[in-house]
Assembly symmetry: C2
Homo-oligomer: 385 residues x 2
């Protein structure tokens, strides 16, 4: 797999500097993936994402499957063309949203029966269907369908979910490879020909189940491994402990993706545990609510203290919002509920996250990841400024 993923440097903590090669460009890892739920990262144009240096986005299969539909996107040339995004895209399997958003779900070994949150229509998502939908979307990296459970979970429930997740992963891998053989490169659309399918390790907060899940997936020889079902309410220390249990078992030559994380001060921690990829709605969602991340910590921009503050949001930031607008103006936009509040806030927060990742990569290269981690914790664990 050396051509797909190259580890360029590994520091003593286990943090890795790498390069993930996809059909839509190389991704410098560790990487953060802005979340483009419905084929758009909320509040920001694709041009701006390119300008900010985003090399890969996440899109949600569940949302795109329901609207506008994966067949429509396939017919229009795939998701890259549909959303006019020439760089890499990772899609999830749809499982997490089925378990968190959809109504009336019924889980069987076959798959998940659920009702759309949009119109109540009934849909069956199977491991094979999740593969098919993602092939139709033509993402560069696809996830297998896994069973996501609520936490804290009883051990028995978690063990059953691991068992099913492994079985679904087996079916997903088999179906994916059959499609590859049948289509002589997976799909009629050129992009899908090089889609990478990742397995997902589950096991809730039980270390032995996490190890068991990881070991079972290794047999299926995925080109990359995700860690799912974490950062869903458990303490950060537990998230780290479970992640460490898993990354210790994963092959060093495959990328590792911790799904759905994290807060700014946590990103370096996960990287130190050997994680190469992360995604989270936090920078974009927080931006729309006026929570802006800066080199001085969190800024809740609606606060009255910024009413007459003519300084830029972050004087150390090189994003277009900080280059032009004042805190007082940003505060005004948020209080007035203006679209420009979300636009500028999103631009800034996405830039901030991508910039943290640049600093993380630099600090791995220079052997100072722990120092960066301490700095981020000191800045962000205090109360919002």
């Amino acid at each position: 797999m050396a051509d797909v993923f190259e580890v360029l440097h590994e520091d003593p903590s286990g943090a890795r500097l790498g390069r993930l090669n996809t059909a839509h460009g190389a991704i410098d890892t560790p990487a953060f993936l802005p979340v483009g739920t419905a084929g758009t990262v909320k509040g920001i144009t694709q041009e701006s994402l390119e300008d900010l240096g985003a090399q890969i986005l996440l899109a949600n299969t569940y949302h795109l499957y329901l609207r506008p539909g994966h067949a429509l996107i396939r017919d229009l040339g795939g998701l890259h063309k549909f959303m006019a995004w020439p760089r890499a895209i990772l899609t999830d399997s749809g499982g997490y949203q089925v378990f968190s958003l959809a109504g009336l779900r019924k889980i069987t070994d076959q798959g998940v029966l659920f009702r759309s949150h949009l119109d109540g229509a009934e849909h069956l998502l199977t491991p094979e269907k999740a593969v098919d939908v993602q092939l139709a979307l033509g993402s560069d990296i696809a996830m297998v369908l896994d069973e996501c459970i609520e936490t804290p979970a009883p051990r028995g429930h978690a063990a059953t979910a691991v068992k099913r997740t492994t079985e679904w992963a087996r079916r997903s891998r088999k179906h994916f490879q059959e499609c590859a053989r049948r289509n002589g490169g997976l799909d009629s659309a050129g992009n899908a020909a090089s889609q990478l399918q990742f397995g997902i390790v589950q096991g809730a907060t039980f270390a032995d189940l996490r190890r068991e899940s990881a070991r079972q997936l290794l047999d299926l020889d995925f080109p990359g491994y995700s860690v799912g079902g974490l950062a869903v309410g458990e303490p950060h220390a537990i998230t780290c402990e479970m992640t460490a249990e898993v990354t210790a078992l994963l092959p060093k030559d495959r990328p590792r993706y911790l799904m759905g994380v994290g807060k700014p001060e946590q990103l370096a921690d996960y990287v130190a545990l050997g994680i190469d990829m992360m995604d989270c709605v936090l920078p974009t969602r927080a931006a729309r609510h006026g929570c802006l991340y800066t080199s001085h910590g969190r800024v809740l921009i609606r606060n009255a203290r910024y009413a007459k503050d003519s300084r830029p949001l972050d004087n150390q930031c090189h994003c277009p919002a900080c280059g032009r607008y004042s805190r007082a103006y940003l505060r005004h936009l948020f209080l007035a509920g203006e679209l420009l509040a979300s636009i500028l806030g999103t631009l800034h927060n996405v830039h901030f996250y991508l910039d943290i990742m640049r600093r993380i990569r630099d600090s791995i290269a220079f052997g100072n990841l722990a120092g960066l981690s301490s700095e981020l914790h000191a800045r962000f664990q205090a109360d919002p400024s």
Copy 2:
């Protein structure tokens, strides 16, 4: 006034090609002013407005007076600095919004007592106050307070409003000039030193009242004249008739501003009547509702016919949205209620309006304004495509 406004060319219809010189740059006229109600044109950054070639914006005094407050904006260096917009700004007097948005208003000769639509607080807006607030904002062009009445209006009511509008204009002009003398250039902020105050002609749909209003204002020697209280529900022919009555009386060496217009196909009509400036929320508001203006006519982008349409919204358009995204993707964004829908729609519609104005100016220069007008009417008066 030749240094403020230069008429470069006048065609036989009365349409004028001109240049309005402000402290924040020259404005090619006829000009369309995008509306930045609360100090932001909804859905678009100031960078994009510059890129699209906007030379002047309108901002609403009523909104900025209530939030964040004109004193705060003055203390932060004026509206240009506050909203980071280096080009020209025109402010209205606040009167129109008081009459349309505020609660519990009571009109006397002194001014208008109203309750804020935000918090119900009581405020008194007088002609002098409207001058003071706009001086504090530091706009390049300010409007006098006028009495806006609902139409259709009884003649007696319209006549009373004209009388009061003239009296208020007299007080506004006097106060404005006293401020100028007292401050040796109006205001401590440099920009306000060259603020231009425009009078506003009222008279509802009564030609003789319109003429009377115009004649009375001429005595006050404003550097520019607005036509208010039109395009508020009356037929387009009446709007044109009233406008023509007024422009026939206005001095040729002063800019003429028809407030709150118009639809794409009407812009050239008003210009043909000698109008130099127009503003309207239509391009931005329609954009947010999925009504997009193109060289082929109106596109209601949510329509199912665009579901699989991979073409750009307008293949003759040079805006960033048309350069990158498809109709199918735009439709998806609108149906999904995504912020990017408003962002791209606004970018396109503002570009479209500014482009019509470029074409109007070109057609005056080449003597073919009537041809352009016919073309626009043919494209936009038909049902939405």
